[in-house]
């Protein structure tokens, strides 16, 4: 039940945002996060954004996995 789904903010109107969650547009409340802007990825849960996805950390994690697995390709370059 704690499923949180990453989605991208398309539009913000006051404390509500239109968020593209895997292709479906959802109304998501922004009461629990600060400084959200269109284009940001957020984790949505029960109609609320609970976190902004940290792009930099996401890339670092993938690079770390690549390092463990011995692949030298930098993940950054792939996107």
């Amino acid at each position: 039940m704690c499923i949180g789904i990453p989605g991208r903010i398309i539009k913000i109107d006051g404390r509500m945002a239109t968020v593209d969650v895997g292709g479906a547009m959802r109304n998501i409340a922004l009461d629990l996060i600060e400084d959200a802007s269109p284009g940001d990825y957020i984790i949505a849960h029960a109609g609320f954004a609970i976190h902004k996805v940290d792009e930099e950390e996401a890339i670092k994690t993938l690079n770390m996995i690549r390092e463990i697995t011995g692949s030298v390709e930098d993940y950054d370059a792939a996107f």
């Binding site: 704690c2 990453p6 409340a29 629990l32 029960a46 109609g47 609970i50 996995i65 463990i68 993940y75």
Partner: protein, 361 residues
């Protein structure tokens, strides 16, 4: 980047499994506390990929499964009152109470509505001010701030007919109870990702400091879980139990202070009764006295008879990781996802339901 597919690369997964195989020089037993992890582990077949000496066991992290019989009885009693609508999340309506589930209560004429967000319950209240809308608020730290924020909006909008029946629970206390269960013999925890989004890492520190066990906050994709498993093994092998974050894209050390602020404005810690486990001190959330006017337990006269647990169900031991679902006599026979006897078979994130669906032994 979509933050999903990147973590499902099967070639990388195989290399991570090889890495785990190389360092796993003795048996290791880890618990994934969160039901979403359990489902992800079964779905991706990680249990079969891992070497045999690594066991991942499912924990109590499905809010639906740990809702006590008594709390369901209370909700059913409320749903049967005149002029009251009971709203809750989908799976909650199927949890068996002493006599009926909410679904059964609905079939018998009670007004029970399933909502996707607490917000939808507030909208119901606003659309029909003549009736009280009671939201049965279940969920861990991931969910309770959303409920608190919804209450905040109700107060702001002057809505008077929106009430909460809070059965919220908090995770760290349950983890301590598990560590105090000697027969379990855990080496460490795969800590719940989205609970940690809110609470950060500090509440887990006792796991490493007092119990000298490993802890890694993990994401939910296959590569996340494999990397977390590797990190857990390394913590133990190197004799440095600590709390690490693998799921950095969604979790920071400090968590989400804004969400905790909203939560703390309306709720305070209380004891909570976990289904099959019992009362864990300080592991629940109740509305503060200032907000008694929104608390269903204080506003409504709820009468229930004596609650009784379902006979033959060993959910309690399953939730504690002491027994696997197939060890229950009722598993797959009297108890299936269509006709759940115990709460662990209700939600698709429940251990019994996950074992049943993925045919695991």
């Amino acid at each position: 980047m979509k933050h999903v597919d990147e973590y499902r690369d099967s070639a990388l997964a195989r290399v991570l499994v090889d890495g785990i195989r190389q360092v796993a020089d003795r048996p290791f037993k880890f618990m994934e506390v969160c039901g979403s992890h359990t489902v992800a582990i079964f779905k991706s077949g990680i249990r079969d990929l891992l070497p045999r000496n690594i066991s991942l066991i499912s924990g109590p992290g499905c809010p639906v499964c740990v809702t006590s019989v008594e709390d369901i009885d209370k909700a059913a009693a409320i749903a049967g009152m005149d002029g009251v609508v009971l709203a809750t999340f989908g799976d909650m309506v199927r949890v068996p109470g002493s006599r009926v589930s909410l679904q059964k209560a609905k079939a018998d004429g009670a007004d029970v509505r399933v909502v996707y967000s607490p917000f939808d319950a507030l909208k119901l209240a606003q659309s029909d001010p003549s009736r009280k809308v009671v939201f049965l608020a279940a969920g861990f730290e991931t969910t309770s701030p959303a409920v608190a924020a919804t209450l905040g909006r109700a107060i702001e909008a002057g809505v008077k007919n929106f009430l909460l029946l809070s059965v919220h629970k908090t995770i760290p206390g349950a983890m301590r109870a598990l560590l105090d269960t000697p027969e379990l013999g855990l080496d460490g925890f795969i800590c719940p990702g989205h609970v940690s989004t809110i609470i950060g890492t500090a509440p887990y520190r006792f796991i490493a400091d007092e119990y000298r066990r490993a802890a890694v906050v993990s994401g939910f994709e296959p590569l996340d879980i494999l990397q977390s498993t590797l990190m857990l093994i390394e913590q133990i092998r190197e004799g440095r139990p600590s709390v690490e974050i693998q799921y950095r894209r969604a979790v920071s050390e400090e968590g989400n202070p804004v969400a905790r602020g909203v939560l703390g404005r309306y709720f305070e810690a209380s004891d909570a009764n976990w289904r099959g486990i019992g009362v864990i001190p300080g592991s629940g959330l109740k509305l503060k006295t200032e907000y008694a006017a929104y608390d269903a337990e204080r506003v409504l006269d709820i009468k229930i008879g004596e609650s009784r647990e379902t006979r033959g169900c060993i959910c309690g031991m399953v939730l504690k990781g002491i027994k696997n679902p197939p060890e229950c006599r009722l598993f797959g026979k009297a108890c299936t996802p269509e006709t759940p006897v115990g709460a662990c078979m209700v939600s698709f994130e429940g251990s019994c339901a996950a074992y049943y669906k993925y045919g695991a032994r």
